[in-house]
Symmetry: C2
Subunit: 179 residues, 2 copies
């Protein structure tokens, strides 16, 4: 079974973006960001929700285009309509069975990109194996929470922690929903 890895930038107070999708305070350069980009090369599949996909439009992504050219994309949404989709991009329903089917396919671990509500839905369904946070040295006080509106508590296991430039840390936890 392929693992689902939620690899995401967070703040000390648990936000993945500020209000109005503002990420201007997040560290956008340095060796921690390079490490993240390098780590992404290992994934052949990415899953995300509609909001995360559309967030890419702000940075020049064209609707239907692959955000990460080397990955197969599955955008989970019941409302997103795309006129043209590049080969390798599919819009699929919010259905846990689809996620489970993806996990059974051959390939690398699955990159859960973005998060918020979609990550919360996967979390509520106990589907996330690894949480890898790029812990930014900032407080935002409000915005999009790491797991959206999910209130599900869980204990994690610390796997590794690395320190990078500009106070960024990449901290990896495994999630064991059974304990």
């Amino acid at each position: 079974m392929r693992r689902i890895i939620y690899y995401v930038a967070t703040t000390i107070d648990g936000y993945i973006s500020g209000p109005n999708e503002d990420i201007s305070r997040f560290t956008a350069s340095g060796d921690g960001v390079e490490q993240y980009l390098d780590d992404l090369k290992a994934f052949d599949t990415v899953i995300m929700g509609r909001r995360t996909y559309e967030f890419g439009y702000k940075f020049g992504l064209i609707p239907g285009q692959l955000a990460y050219p080397h990955m197969k994309h599955y955008i989970f949404s019941s409302t997103l309509r795309l006129k043209h989709c590049e080969k390798g991009l599919e819009v699929v329903n919010l259905d846990i069975n689809i996620v489970e089917e993806l996990q059974k396919e051959e390939g690398s671990d699955i990159y859960l990109c973005g998060g918020g509500e979609f990550a919360g839905w996967l979390h509520e369904n106990e589907m996330i194996d690894i949480l890898k946070i790029k812990l930014n040295p900032i407080l935002l006080g409000q915005g999009v929470r790491l797991f959206g509106n999910s209130t599900k508590p869980v204990n994690l296991e610390l796997i590794s922690t690395e320190k990078y430039q500009y106070g960024l840390q990449i901290i990896t936890y495994s999630i064991n929903y059974i304990t």
Copy 2:
């Protein structure tokens, strides 16, 4: 000027306790907790809000008693009434001038204990110099937030990060409200 150091246990999603003051998932033993207790010895003064002080009652604290016998206590509250106070404990009004006066006194750095609303009030008033989090490997999903209802964003500077038993990390940041 004495610095105010907010030294507090948090979760990956930015909570200092769960609903109903539940802290049962937080790491309560191991070398990280010992480090914390050892670090507390350096403080001669503690400030806290009413809820944090009263939270101690659950663990045997008697109203009016010092929670940390070697520290002077200032409980900031306009509603707390204590019949008998041990020497060294004072209930004072929520008044920033009082905090500033404390900072001007001779002595060690000041320990900001607990937090939530009181920490949020100090944060809104740009009074916290150091944020030292005991980052627990847990998600709570709900509860008391690190800075209560404050929505004030701020950039921090990473000073140090240390890894301890049971996946606990103690991470120290300085807060510079000017940048």
